[in-house]
Symmetry: C2
Subunit: 218 residues, 2 copies
C-alpha cells in the first residue's frame, strides 16, 4: 500500500479566483440586505438571489447561516475600521474631531437617520444569540475606541488636552453617544438626535481643552 498518499495532499483546499469572487459577492449581498432588514429578518434565499449565486455555493463557502453571519461580522468590522482609520489616524486637534463628527452625521443623513450603525445593530441582534459574534463585535468596538483614544492621547501629548483628561473614558463616552445617537436617529428616522448626542460628547471633550476656543454656544 503506497503510504506516500498520506503525506502528499498538504493542500487542504485549493481556491480559485472565481471562488474568491463568489464568496465576496455573497458577503457583499448579505452586508447590504442585513444592513437594512436586520440579520434575522434576512433569509438565505434573499442572499442567494441578491448575490446571483445558488444554494450550493452558499454552503460551499459557509458552513451554515451562523457562519455566514459571523463572516459578515468580521467583514463589516473590517470595513468600519478601515473607514474610521482614515478619519481618525491623523487626529491631532479638536477641529479634527469636529470634521470626523460631521462626516458621520452627513453619511447617516443620507439615509434619513435610518438603519443605524452597522456594528451597533448587529451587536443588539446578536449579543444574546451568538457568543462568538458578540466577542468579535466587542473586539471591533475596542479597536474603534482605540482609534479615538489614540487620537486623544496625541492631543494630550501635543498639549491640546489637559493632563487630567482620560482618553479611554472620553473615547468610551463618545462611542456611547455615537451608538445611542444612531439608535435614536433610527427610531426617529431623523439624524437630529445623533447630532445632539455627538455634540454633547464633543462639548464634554472640549471642557478638557487647554485653551477653550470661545464660549460654549448657548
Amino acid at each position: 500500500m503506497s503510504d506516500e498518499r498520506v503525506a502528499a495532499p498538504t493542500n487542504p483546499r485549493r481556491i480559485s479566483q472565481r471562488g474568491i469572487a463568489t464568496r465576496e459577492r455573497i458577503l457583499e449581498a448579505a452586508n447590504r440586505l442585513m444592513f437594512v432588514r436586520g440579520v434575522n429578518a434576512t433569509t438565505l434565499d434573499d442572499v442567494r438571489e441578491a448575490s446571483q449565486t445558488s444554494k450550493s455555493q452558499l454552503y460551499h463557502h459557509f458552513a451554515d447561516k451562523q457562519e455566514l453571519v459571523r463572516a459578515l461580522v468580521r467583514y463589516r468590522g473590517a470595513l468600519v475600521l478601515q473607514r474610521e482609520r482614515g478619519g481618525l489616524e491623523r487626529l491631532r486637534s479638536f477641529s479634527g474631531l469636529v470634521r470626523w463628527r460631521n462626516a458621520l452625521v452627513q453619511a447617516n443623513s443620507l439615509n434619513y437617520g435610518k438603519y443605524g450603525c452597522g456594528l451597533g445593530s448587529m451587536a443588539v441582534e446578536l449579543s444574546d444569540q451568538d457568543e462568538q459574534a458578540r466577542s468579535t463585535l466587542l473586539e471591533t468596538f475596542a479597536a474603534w475606541e482605540k482609534l479615538i483614544s489614540d487620537g486623544l492621547h496625541r492631543m494630550r501629548d501635543g498639549g491640546a488636552l489637559r493632563q487630567d483628561a482620560d482618553p479611554e473614558k472620553l473615547a468610551t463616552g463618545l462611542m456611547a453617544a455615537l451608538q445611542g445617537g444612531y439608535l435614536l436617529a433610527n427610531a426617529a428616522h431623523d439624524v437630529a438626535p445623533m447630532e445632539v448626542a455627538l455634540d454633547m460628547a464633543l462639548e464634554h471633550i472640549k471642557s478638557f481643552l487647554v485653551e477653550p476656543s470661545g464660549e460654549p454656544r448657548g
Copy 2:
C-alpha cells in the same frame, strides 16, 4: 326585515375577567422571552408554552404575530414609563439625577450588562421592519425624554441650572448616552461602559450647574 338588529349589537365584543388575565399572561410571557432572545428570534410556540396557553388563545387575543409585537411595544413602553415616572417625577436636584443613574446601573448590573434596554433593543429590531411599532417607540422615547427634560426645567426654574442650559437637548444627550451605554454594556456583558457613558452625560449637565459642587474628579 328587522332593521333594529343593525343598531342593537353596540357591544362589538364581550370580555371576561378570565380573558383579560389570559391576555395579560401572554403579554407577560412574550415580554420575558423577547427581552432575552429578541423579537424575531422568539416564536409563537415559545410564547404559547411559556404563557401556558394555546394557539387558539394567542389568535383569539391578537390578530397575528405583528399585532402581538405591537401590543408588546405598548406594554413595555407603559412599564418603562411607569418605572421612570417614579424616579424622575420629583427630580429637582443634581443628586436626584445621580440617584436615578445609580438605579439604572444597578438594575443592569444584575443582568451583567446583558439584554440592553427593553425599548432600545426593540427600536433597533423593529424600526426598519414595522412602521407602526417604530412610531410607538418614538413616542415612548419622547415621553421618556420629557420626564427628564421636565425635571431639568424644574432644576432651572429652581435656580439649580443656569438659564442657558437647554433641557431638551440635555435630555436627548442623556438618553443617547443611556442607550449607547446599554448597547456597549450588552456587547461587553459588563455594565462598565454604561457607567462611563452616563457619567459623561451627567458631567455635561453638571457643567450647567449654577454653583459647581467641587472639582470634577480626575
